[in-house]
Symmetry: D5
Subunit: 147 residues, 10 copies
């Protein structure tokens, strides 16, 4: 069984059981953002969390094992990258990337926001003119090292 097949099995089980990512996250005991990323094959899970996920979804031991491995986390295939929802996030980096760089350097000095020691939250903000999506990135500042 490949990781890809494991992810397909997870998505199929989620549909059959009419579960939401939020429900699975509660059962697993971590945030919905992290749990979803792990079940979509972009993060590795500690053994106990993998066991809970697999048990809730009614899947077998091989999936549990795969969820604990270190995945290849990178590149979205072209089709996904051009999906309008995902593309907007690339557009934000294109339009505001230099702004972000200026302001992080102004507040922290030379360094970057880690994308590894990193967490993310997605929530709904009610607004009479149309509800808003609020996405928060929270990453450790890593200063460049002199040697």
């Amino acid at each position: 069984m490949t990781r890809c097949e494991a992810v397909a099995a997870i998505i199929a089980a989620k549909k059959t059981k009419n579960l939401k990512w939020k429900d699975i996250a509660e059962a697993v005991g971590a945030s919905p953002e992290w749990v979803t990323s792990a079940l979509l094959g972009r993060n590795s899970m500690p053994g106990d969390l993998a066991a809970r996920a697999v048990s809730l979804l009614g899947l077998d031991k091989e999936v549990e094992k795969i969820l604990q491995e270190c995945p290849t986390k990178g590149a979205l295939e072209a089709e996904t990258a051009a999906d309008p929802l995902i593309y907007r996030f690339h557009e934000i980096t294109q339009v505001y990337g230099t702004t972000i760089k200026e302001l992080i350097h102004e507040q922290f000095g030379d360094g970057i926001m880690s994308a590894i020691d990193f967490e993310m939250e997605i929530r709904r903000l009610p607004d009479p003119k149309g509800d808003r999506v609020v996405v928060t990135y929270n990453g450790k500042f890593l200063p460049y090292r002199k040697w």
Copy 2:
């Protein structure tokens, strides 16, 4: 004078006067994130704000006029896109893009987060294990239209 030359003049004046983006934003009367993006040539400014920016920086009327025009906002040149700080934001979209898509659809239904009716905040979160960069995206949810 091209917009590109106007941006260079702004950055030079900021250096000479030893100003921070935060200081300029206060004088202009809007958030540092939006003011920085406008002065870097990625957003257009209303006339009164452009006037205040130009006056603070000691620049002339032509810059003020250019700041009010609608800029071409898009593509980062290759060099900038590969800067480690900016690349991390592309990496986040590559690694977490499908997660974001799943969770926005779960919470809102079919649609996207607008990158136009959009605002962003960057702040420093003190942390004993190393301070953290917190970047918040806040965009209107736009549902797909049926017709």
Copy 3:
């Protein structure tokens, strides 16, 4: 069953039953443009419309369910993008893109035409020198937000 297989099943059923997209759209109760895009896997359908489409085409429940999911809407594969009919639309953007940008900014100010809160119509205009294709795009104007 993947969305891709669902689309193939829809196209096969349409051929077998000798239906036109126009006929299917009437039965479904929405415009031919939107219905075609949804049945080709580029838009999600409300449950009742999906039910009518599937019933007309004689397909099973799984297709109905897939039609209600949020699809990955994006990138045409290279082969499709180079089809002469589709390429002409990319060419129009290449040749007239800056014209469109100038005129939308002149009439509306800084902002964009939404491709989400959007609809499209395709019709035939009789002309003695050769009939004409008329394609109308209709999208909400989204002004940039200051913050």
Copy 4:
């Protein structure tokens, strides 16, 4: 003088004289869409129209001559293609391209919409929920030839 310099001179004169594309189009005696595209260097102008444009803008004979030449009409440079306003038109082709292909073939048979024997209109449609941009493409249908 290159065409590129001619376009820059036209844009500068337009700014100095505080003209709108609509005003120039009226003086020239053709639609704002076509006049704008010609003055941005994407279409060639008949001699009398070029003369009127140059006279209104107060430019010299060399610009008038350049406006009558056949321009290289094609590729947007990468920066422009990623401008959010222009990108939305590429996105529409990506998302709705196969829909457009199906419906043109259904209504006309095998062939394409010409991007040469072509015109375009951009107008503002008032709407209480937010005004809308309406862009109409009108191109001759060209059937494939058998030989």
Copy 5:
């Protein structure tokens, strides 16, 4: 059956029956260039011609039906584009493209040669220093429209 499989079946039948494209074209009643392009899946065939092609090749009704559909005509896959024979045609456009543009504009004014209302002939020209390939492109001139 996909169009791709139909093309493979046509090529296999042609081999088995030891037919040349020229023979098939005669039986079908159109030029070898057009018939070959249609049987390789790049043009759609009228019903009677498709029937004759399929009957000669001993293939079934499904192939006949597919030959009448509007194909996706575009992009050569990378491997084919780099075949030395095909690459030479791209090279000719690279080396002589600007020459062709100058001379068509000189003889016809602003416009293009249609690749849709188009036909092509390939023939062998005997030459004592080595026979020559003569390829003739014949496309309607399409002038740009003013509006």
Copy 6:
């Protein structure tokens, strides 16, 4: 003086003297297609022809010398490649490339049409339904060598 500057000088002189490529070709004593390609910098000229071209255009010795050098003949820059007139020739190769390959192999065996031992003619074919552009490629057949 670079070749690029020489080409610009040639084009400027041609405009000033109101010459057509056809006129220059007659004075030079070769076909308009070849002369145009050489004066646009894509072919090298024998000394006597270069002398006649430079004399007609009223340019100096340095241009004459440059016209005799072996140019870098290759790649069109992206902007030119996307010009609609030139793109149609790339499209023809994309759509008909495999057809051309099949028919050249059928008539000649394994080998290619040379793009070096090659000539090209462009002419206007009157047609009541709209005049036609006829472009003829004529290249030596080069069989693959066995060794």
Copy 7:
């Protein structure tokens, strides 16, 4: 059977029978370089040579037939192009390409070395400091044609 499957069968048979390319070339009666290229699917074989190759390898008639067809000879897939051994040949063209161009033009005038009327030899040159690979390209000079 596709050409790709035929090549796989040839390689498998070569392994099973413990043959070297040199042995096969001798049996076929042509150079190892040409025979290898033909058996790897990059050149077509005359009937008698294909028969000998197939007989030596113990393969069937279908392979023999495929070896006589005109292959698509072009593009290496990305993985192969980045193989260090093959990449070095691309690097040589990158580093020495302009040198080769200068020296061929100096010795022959304007024209190219044919890659079609071409042969190649690979041999081992003993050297006390480490044996050397000697690769010889031998192609007909093709002068550009004036017309």
Copy 8:
């Protein structure tokens, strides 16, 4: 003075003095292939050879110094890579790359031909059917290291 300007000065001096690369190589005391590559900026020269080259060409000390530096040797710009003469060398790698790999491995085992400990010769081979270009690559075999 940049290396690029130094190369331009060398080429200009070579033209003015009517020298051939062969003549310069003789004066410098190394092969024409290596000397040409060094003077085109792709190899560094020992001091005495640089001095002789500069003296013959009548250039100044700064050029001499630049010729001794280690150049950036790599990528051809797109225009050069598509020149037909240079492209044929890329095509040979595309068509014969896998053949070369098989035969080097057969004769030497696992390893590559060095492109650094490398030399090259270009010569003219008279042939009644048309003279031939013979290019010889000679590089040290480098076996892969086990550790």
Copy 9:
């Protein structure tokens, strides 16, 4: 069996037997870095080492044979190249590539570090502020050859 299937079999056996790369390397009798690269299909193995690896993993003779062949060693597929861990190594080359070039030339003169006569070591360096990854590249210096 393809090399790709052999690698999959090796990875599956390693999982089933709960072996570490380090354990396999010890049994094989070479460094973990080299053994891992060979078992992942990037290096060829001498016969005795391949035999030990296959025996430890309980795989059959065909795998043993494949491990001794010369693999295509090159390009990472896009997905792998964008994995954050692997991308960091590309980033280091992007950021420090010119530094490395300067310092190797300063210490050694014109030439390169071989990636063929090359070995690599990966180890863990304990550090109270967080353990560190230490990767050492060790390649023979290859000076450029004059000829």
Copy 10:
């Protein structure tokens, strides 16, 4: 003065004063690798180190100021990336990237080697068979965060 011009000034001064990077590093008081990267514009310098560098090189205050700014550190331009010395480092990542990933995960668990909290050393290792280049990367291990 741009950073690019500052780097050019630094390189020119280094040449004029016949300094080595090693000498400059000693005067500055940090490692040659880090100092070189900072002076080539890839790292920012603390004020005192910048002062010492500028004083040694005899450059003015503006360079000193630029050296303290946060640079855009990323993408090598295409020409540099194809330089053989630099390309070998990309090749190592292509060939050994998956090996490095496996072994870092085996020794540390899921995470990456930081390219920010990172240092590098380059040294010469004498070897009778040819001296060797030893490059050591030393980066903090960053484990993925669960949240």
